[in-house]
């Protein structure tokens, strides 16, 4: 087991190095140098020269890269051009919002998708099965932002059941020790704030969770259909175990293996979708922050944001792979 974990950890190193090179080259490929975006187009040549010296742009490229890598490893991504705040601090504030949103979306997808896929497999070839296939097909075909707009229109604008924008009502004053608003509300025992935060999460989470929901449903259905005909399931049924026990202990438990792997693959989709969903709901997470940064040509933010999100994505996949090896002994020993 330890050997597998070490091998998997070592695999991350070249990816992170490659990623840092990619982002380093990318910043230099951007239209206009970072200096001119920092100083504006009318900066005097003398000032530009001064800044070039100060930020080390006169040194050889490999030295610049090593220097950059050092500051990145300290989580130092520079300061935002638009807000003059440290990119690191903004990430600290915005990451919890996106984390809450993606986790809520994932919970929604799994809580609905697994039972839906399971019953579709049980009713294989029947109307319920076809209906679930059709819904999951629509789920992967509908753009996240379009679904978000529709949900917002129906439940927020028309019915007025849920709020249209933001993470929490502006009138609610509450402390945010962790910036994870759900957690904060629980820690401080502010149930009114908790209810409000959850209400703000519902629509974005449902919109963002639509694609994972479709995929989880399909995979669960396929996995259950696969497992159902295994010898051990037939044995369990033949020895007279109640059908529900067989489903729970033998069918579902084994079918959950493939489902657990695809959750890691969903992380990329969720992080991509978060940019769009957060834009529709003006949700103050990493996604809407990056979107604004693109408009302001705020390169330190785009650079720091993309690096951070990619790092997150690599780490999520690492954790999923390792935990998969823990649940599935076949991987460990191969």
């Amino acid at each position: 087991m330890l050997r597998y974990v070490v091998r998997r950890l070592l695999l991350v190193v070249p990816i992170l190095l490659g990623l840092s090179i990619l982002v380093f080259v990318w910043v230099r490929a951007l239209p206009g140098s970072p200096i001119s975006s920092l100083l504006g187009e009318r900066a005097t040549p003398a000032l530009v020269a001064q800044y070039r010296e100060r930020y080390g742009y006169n040194e050889p490229v490999y030295k610049q890269y090593v220097k950059q890598l050092r500051s990145w490893s300290r989580a130092d991504f520079g300061t935002s051009i638009a807000t003059h705040r440290e990119v690191k601090d903004e990430i600290k504030q915005r990451f919890p919002a996106t984390a809450e949103l993606t986790v809520a979306a994932l919970i929604f997808a799994v809580a609905i998708g697994v039972p839906l896929g399971f019953f579709a497999a049980k009713k294989h070839g029947r109307l319920f099965d076809h209906a679930s296939l059709f819904i999951s097909l629509i789920g992967v075909s509908i753009p996240v932002f379009f679904l978000a707009i529709i949900l917002k229109y129906i439940f927020a604008v028309r019915l007025g059941w849920l709020p249209t924008v933001g993470r929490i009502d502006v009138l609610i004053e509450t402390k945010h020790p962790t910036n994870f608003y759900v957690l904060d509300a629980i820690i401080t025992g502010d149930w009114h704030a908790l209810w409000d935060v959850l209400k703000h999460l519902i629509l974005p989470a449902v919109a963002l969770g639509s694609i994972p929901l479709a995929i989880v449903t399909r995979i669960t259905r396929a996995a259950v259909l696969d497992v159902q005909n295994e010898d051990y399931v037939r044995t369990a049924r033949a020895k007279g175990l109640p059908p529900l026990t067989v489903d729970r202990r033998h069918v579902l438990r084994n079918a959950l293996l493939p489902i657990s792997t695809i959750i890691g693959l969903q992380a990329g989709l969720l992080l991509s979708g978060a940019v769009l969903t957060e834009t529709v709901f003006a949700f103050p997470g990493l996604g809407s922050w990056l979107r604004d940064a693109i408009f302001n040509r705020d390169y330190p933010v785009i650079q720091g944001g993309i690096l951070f999100v990619a790092f997150l994505f690599v780490m999520v996949n690492l954790i999923v792979d390792i935990s998969y090896a823990i649940i599935n002994p076949r991987i460990r020993y191969s």
Binding site: I142, P143, I294, I306, V309
Partner: protein
Amino acid sequence: MSVAELESAEIVLEAPSGLWREARHRLVRNPGAIVGAVLVSVFVVTAIFAAQIAPDKPNEQNLSLLQNGQAVGPSSAHWLGIDTLGRDEFSRIVYGARFSLLVGIVAVAIGLSIGMLLGSIAGYAGGLLDSVIMRAMDVMLSIPQLLLAIGIVAALGPGLGKIMVAIGIVNIPIFARLLRGSVLAQKENDFVLAARAIGVRRRGILFAHIIPNSISPVIVQGTLAMATAIIDVAGLGFLGLGPQDPATPEWGTMLTNANDYLVSTPFLAIVPGVAIVLSVLGFNLIGDGLREALDPKLRGRH
């Protein structure tokens, strides 16, 4: 060609023709695939004959059609209503099909050709070249798709052409991985050994024997990539990275504008959204149908 070469060529030719004939049989019996084909045909025909189908020019403004300065819902004269600037929504949707189709085809073509090339080289050459290419692909895959596309567009600058390139690049590692896997599997086949034994050059084997036999998963992925490309284009357009002329009837850009007028004119958001869903659904249905039809495990079953 020597007799041996002719024979080996024959072996190769025989396999795909059987596969394709069977696949076609299975495809026409799959109702989902037929619905998909109909949707995609409508989409393609609309895109090609947009000028003949649309009653108006997409940017023709007729402010007198507005009621109290507001957009007007569907009517018999204007099937999908009038947008906030007095333009016929139906005509704009019809012209919008052109952009989605064009971007989809170009983006997938870029991703597919470069990805196939890299993947087949990696798979066939092996060794250091394989490691270098595939690690580079891993790095690209370590950035979530849309973010990678956003990063590329940020470097290239916004615009329709840049979006095509960006989404194309995003697709490269997907096709490269797919083809590498396929090539590795094909490499050990007897017909490849036979070709090598009679002295066919490496490049010849790759292009004449291995790639044609690895192509079916690529076709499936290509169809599904068209679907994702249409969604991604609309997504980038929605974020404001699409065509910089706001009058361009691109579906994603149209949705951005509609989002601002959601309360007064919801149909302006629904119409382009439904257009996206239907075209994406079409490609997904065909892709799924093809996957089932080309799956060698299902061969011989009807």
